[in-house]
Subunit: 426 residues, 2 copies
């Protein structure tokens, strides 16, 4: 690295984006700018990978220093991934050593000594591998992971940025749709099904349960991926619910499966073109009720709306997303390599938290499941313990600014720096 030049940073977004991943990006960039203003030698520019780590491999680096302070501040309330993300997992060092070496080459060419990787479990694994290789190659690099996943499945952090806002969105939507169905049940729709994300873990489905504060309030049934789907038991519960309340509202995880592990979504028959229908477990479950019990249904598929709903983000979530971006830079400047800042819960109510630090090697590829005691014995509801855990994560509103009746989000200029290396063939 050239002497007397401050060390630059590389930041990349990875995997499915969220309503608050840009909030972490804002935390990274603003903290780096503050540090640089205080001491120009501490940190140089922050380059962002265009479309995530692919941008590093392709030497397509966005110069965030060309964005105004005002525009970077607006990142804080803008959903999606401002620099582009990617679903691209670097393989093992043995299989794809050339890719890792390419990363180091690109970092070396642009005086990059800080590597911030904002993603889920796979990304923490990649960041850890990069940290190991840089040591082996004798290239000084400080690698810091920044947690992000709506799935809430990273270990060693109380929660993951992105989850709290999805949780607030689905619980609010469930409550609102519940008021709607209750009004219509006498002569029309008696069943409402909301399908939500979470292929392997039921955190988002569980969060729907927060909408209910008393016996009989929607949602009446949660179908979690942790509990194998039992058609007879489910239908009996629906019938009982309609008998008691005249309607029944259900939140179902896209990952619902039977006792043999088959996804219910794969059982949906064929579409117009003869293909097996993927997705749509919400409709399958609703249609099952119609066929067996005869009730009229409606169903909704939140899909990307749930993870991009910045308009109803949780304040807890945005605060934590920013704080983790900030902490990542502070850790890097302190020379802490191969770590990930996380959230440590100090108290449930009122919720108090602080930033902790975990080693990347302890994060990589470990999925945090919902504890069984977060789910009621019958499998259809969440327990008080689960509620106590989830409740603070949706606390607080953090509305974006509006213009013309719509949230006023930012699109950055995203200008790349000149390339210095030959093209790379993976």
């Amino acid at each position: 690295m050239a002497a007397n030049k401050p060390i630059n940073a590389f930041y990349a977004q990875s995997g499915g984006v969220t309503a608050v991943i840009n909030t972490s990006a804002c935390g990274v960039i603003e903290t780096a700018r503050r540090a640089s203003q205080k001491n120009p030698q501490s940190i140089g520019k922050v380059f962002a990978g265009r479309n995530g780590i692919i941008g590093a491999l392709a030497e397509d680096l966005i110069d965030t220093s060309l964005e105004s302070d005002e525009d970077i501040a607006r990142l804080r309330h803008t959903p999606g991934g401002a620099f582009g993300s990617c679903r691209y997992k670097l393989k093992s060092l043995e299989e794809h050593r050339a890719q890792y070496e390419r990363l180091i080459d690109v970092f070396r060419a642009h005086d990059i000594g800080y590597f911030f990787y904002n993603g889920g479990g796979d990304s923490m694994d990649t960041a850890w591998k990069v940290s190991q290789l840089s040591e082996k190659l004798g290239y000084p690099l400080v690698c810091v992971g920044i947690p992000k996943t709506v799935d809430n499945d990273l270990p060693h952090t109380d929660t993951c940025p992105g989850f709290g806002s999805v949780a607030k969105y689905v619980a609010t939507s469930m409550r609102e749709a519940g008021y709607d169905v209750a009004s219509m049940a006498k002569t029309s729709t008696k069943i409402f099904v909301l399908e939500v994300m979470g292929r392997h873990a039921g955190w988002i489905t569980a969060a729907c349960g927060l909408a209910s504060e008393a016996e009989g309030e929607p949602p009446h049934i949660l179908l979690l991926p942790e509990i194998p789907f039992d058609e007879a038991r489910f239908l009996a519960r629906v019938a009982d619910c309609v008998k008691r309340y005249d309607y029944c509202t259900i939140a179902v995880s896209e990952g619902l499966h039977d006792a043999a592990g088959n996804f219910i979504s794969d059982m949906g028959g064929k579409d117009a073109f003869g293909h097996a229908q993927l997705g749509g477990v919400g409709q399958i479950v609703a249609q099952l009720i119609k066929d067996r019990l005869g009730y009229k249904y409606h169903w909704a598929l939140a899909d990307y709306l749930q993870r991009s709903a910045r308009h109803i983000a949780s304040k807890t979530d945005t605060d934590q997303a920013y704080a983790l971006g900030q902490a990542a830079v502070e850790l890097a400047l302190a020379g802490r390599n191969a770590v990930m800042p996380g959230i440590v819960r100090l108290a449930d109510a009122p919720y108090r938290w602080e930033i902790g630090v975990a080693d990347l090697k302890d994060i990589a590829n470990i999925e945090r499941k919902m504890p069984r005691d977060f789910i009621s014995d019958d499998g259809f509801q969440i327990t008080k313990k689960c509620r106590d855990y989830l409740a603070p994560l949706i606390e607080g509103e953090d509305y974006p600014p509006y213009r013309g009746g719509l949230p006023d989000y930012i699109r950055l200029k995203n200008i790349s720096i000149p390339q210095k290396l030959a093209a790379f063939k993976a």
Copy 2:
């Protein structure tokens, strides 16, 4: 009617509910309370039909005077229909004269001289018929309709309460999902489809178009029910869009149909149980793209979420919903029979409006369609004229209060008054 007793009012909610139909109810009840406080002879109690007009036929009348002022005030920000609604259309006077006479019997038994019917075109028709019969039977009744429909298809009003909030929700959701897809397009999802309501008119689909403020911004394609679906033209447009922007976002009306008038949703093949699949035109369109062009897709079905999303209601919409409830009572107290208050637009920007009055006979069963010059020549976008019409309707935020991270909505006590009549067999 007993002498010296103030005249009571009957209020009923009808058809699909909205995020703001309770706002109109709040306007009715609060205005009646204020009038009664000023002059106890002017108006008595407001009774609400449990589950709409069915409550009148069944003599199941909710006594709203048993609800506190505070709880009635909370109706203003509570979605759904607080007293229950119904999909039940009274037939013609000739066919079902007994039902109309029953209504008059119930009104007579409970000293009801004001009839407020809060609904869409069918309900305005019913209110008009009731007004005619009461004259024939010599029972003094003042019938006032209060417009409500997310479909925005009533004539003689600039817009219908409920529509502006759906419009704000779908445009916001489209914008947010657009930011998400744009981030993912490089290596993953290139196509996003949002299916919205509007079986016969494309107002809600058109509102999605507000999310786009410049060439290339989502949504890239609107599929309106006014424009017959042309598969080849559509696929060519999608391919062109992906070529230009690397992704394509689409809003589609549930009522999309082909040139022969067949709903595209009916072409979706069979479900797991061999039934024709209803709904899901969003998935059909997305799957078509996947099959013909090979792009990975996501799709969302907003369903009831869109019409119950009080958390992102339009301030214009809530102001108008309340004002129309208030105007209905003022018109009734002034003895104006067989009318409906509506919104008269005075100016686009800044938007100015006032309350107008239309005759129920001019409203009944007339659907207001989108004008052709609101749709671009190619049929895939809205025009500036449409944008100028729609923009003010989503202006302003009117957030509900939150408690524990969720909107704090009210469930009323809804206590019925004692019945006086024998049961009625329809």
